[in-house]
């Protein structure tokens, strides 16, 4: 009887359910822009001062982390191609086995890596606009209806001028076969837009041997990155 009441939010008068007020679904607090000084709160070292003993940063790995070391790097562009230098990006990903370090991940036969949380944040450089993450390549994760998702990293982008944080996914160019079967990529009916979610594996490697992927984000206009309502 009551399953649809959550959709009643905002309806009044004759459209409201009769007597249906037991289940109250509140509105989410409104989002506001992170503003130009987001670094103060989320990356004070980038803002130019030292305050916390432990900073959350863009290096997700330690020497003990299992998996292939990779760097993801790129730039963020506005609607007329300007490189943005005040953006904060966070990523969240599974470990090399394809397991998220979170209790809701009950995939059998996969272990959490105690040396990998899978979360990081990076600022675009104030001069070059480049952001980087040093992490491991995630393994595939079970998706809905038993369909395996291609390896991917979830990204969240906030900045001055962005009123609600933008969600997207970073897939990998050397996973063409898995990408072709990925249910989320296939949901994008405009095939030419799917490539906006694929990070390109570069010829260049880091001195450490880590592979480098380039993932540029276009907020608006030609080649606009696919963003998700999740």
């Amino acid at each position: 009887m009551s399953g649809w009441r959550e959709h009643r939010l905002g309806l009044e008068g004759p459209l409201a359910a009769p007597g249906g007020s037991e289940l109250v679904v509140r509105r989410e607090t409104a989002s506001q822009t992170a503003g130009p000084y987001v670094h103060i709160g989320l990356a004070p070292d980038a803002a130019g001062f030292d305050i916390f003993e432990n900073n959350f940063g863009n290096v997700l790995v330690t020497d003990q982390t299992k998996g292939e070391r990779i760097r993801i790097e790129g730039r963020v562009f506005d609607g007329i191609g300007t490189v943005l230098k005040d953006v904060l990006i966070e990523i969240w990903q599974a470990n090399a086995e394809g397991k998220y370090a979170h209790p809701a991940d009950r995939q059998p036969g996969k272990a959490v890596d105690p040396h990998f949380r899978g979360w990081g944040r990076a600022c675009t450089d104030f001069e070059s606009g480049v952001y980087t993450f040093d992490t491991v390549k995630p393994g595939p994760v079970e998706g809905r209806n038993g369909r395996t998702m291609a390896p991917h990293v979830n990204a969240w982008i906030v900045a001055r001028g962005i009123n609600l944080g933008l969600n997207t996914r970073i897939y990998f160019s050397d996973e063409a076969e898995a990408n072709a079967k990925d249910a989320v990529l296939n949901l994008i009916e405009w095939e030419q837009r799917r490539k906006t979610l694929v990070a390109e594996r570069l010829e260049r490697k880091l001195d450490s041997g880590a592979a480098v992927y380039r993932f540029d984000i276009r907020l608006q206009g030609e080649g606009e990155t696919v963003f998700f309502d999740v």
């Binding site: 009551s2 399953g3 959550e6 939010l9 679904v25 509140r26 509105r27 989410e28 607090t29 409104a30 989002s31 506001q32 822009t33 992170a34 130009p36 000084y37 987001v38 103060i40 709160g41 989320l42 803002a47 130019g48 001062f49 305050i51 007329i80 300007t82 005040d86 966070e90 969240w92 599974a94 998220y100 370090a101 809701a104 991940d105 009950r106 995939q107 104030f126 994760v141 079970e142 998706g143 809905r144 209806n145 038993g146 998702m149 991917h152 969240w156 906030v158 900045a159 001028g161 962005i162 009123n163 609600l164 944080g165 969600n167 907020l219 608006q220 606009e224 963003f227 309502d229 999740v230």
Partner: protein, 250 residues
């Protein structure tokens, strides 16, 4: 297994609770707002999981902005406590949620290398703090009330006093950044950034109320600010609805 478990999914985001991406009165949004519709995803493990934080990662003064950057004295300005609860849309407390806050000082100046406002830096004030909510979703921190400041939008636009928030819940889709304002601030009604919020109700939700009951006598005033993050579906609720639906079909 069929991931995610039904109990882990979050309610669909009600986008009418949030500002539109393109809001010309806030000029910077014009070139930074996607023009194409976002693609709607049913949630997978990628959306219902999120980083888990440990109190050991935070320092003892991380939620005390009066002391966490004090060098040779106390910061200047009105001493306040800000406190409140983080709940989800169904009223459940968000436990162990990371709450990060940042703000300018009492002069309206940010400790940031890109801020060039004439308002002066306070050598004893950093302007950032962070904490985890307790088992009831409660958080509290102590700070100096931020000042208003002018900004380049129109030539005489001023930001009302505000504190920035970033919140992390149990699932990646609950991540939220917002700003908290102060009851009674006359700049609230003309702020182009607060003005992008979609309704009076949603604007009211961003304004902290003075909480006299929580004042520290002869020391600090207090403000109360509650936050609502995306709701998570409950197993009990889910079962109840399914059983009811089956009952109807019979």
């Amino acid at each position: 297994m069929r991931a995610p478990q039904a109990d882990a999914e979050f309610l669909m985001r009600d986008t009418t609770s949030h500002p539109a991406a393109y809001t010309p009165q806030y000029k910077t949004s014009v070139l930074r707002s996607p023009r194409l519709a976002p693609i709607s995803l049913q949630q997978s493990l990628s959306e219902v999981t999120a980083p888990v934080f440990d109190a050991a990662e935070l320092g003892p003064l991380d939620n005390d902005l009066i002391l966490n950057y004090a060098k040779d004295g106390m910061p200047i300005g009105e001493r306040i406590i800000v406190h409140g609860y983080v709940h989800d849309q169904l009223g459940r407390p968000l436990k162990n949620a990371l709450v990060e806050v940042w703000q300018c000082n009492a002069s309206g100046r940010y400790r940031h290398k890109k801020d060039t406002y004439i308002g002066t830096l306070d050598p004893n004030f950093g302007g950032c703090g962070r904490m985890l909510t307790d088992e009831n979703g409660y958080y509290a921190y102590r700070t100096i009330k931020p000042g208003p400041y002018p900004w380049r939008n129109r030539v005489n636009d001023w930001r009302p006093a505000h504190i920035h928030y970033a919140l992390s819940g149990d699932g990646w889709v609950q991540r939220l950044v917002t700003q908290m304002y102060f009851e009674g601030d006359p700049l609230i009604r003309s702020c182009p950034i607060l003005g992008v919020a979609p309704s009076e109700e949603q604007i009211r939700g961003l304004i902290a109320l003075q909480d006299t009951g929580a004042f520290v006598q002869l020391d600090s005033r207090a403000y109360r600010f509650d936050v609502v993050l995306r709701g998570q579906r409950a197993t009990l609720f889910e079962n109840h609805v399914q059983q009811a639906a089956e009952g109807e079909r019979r």
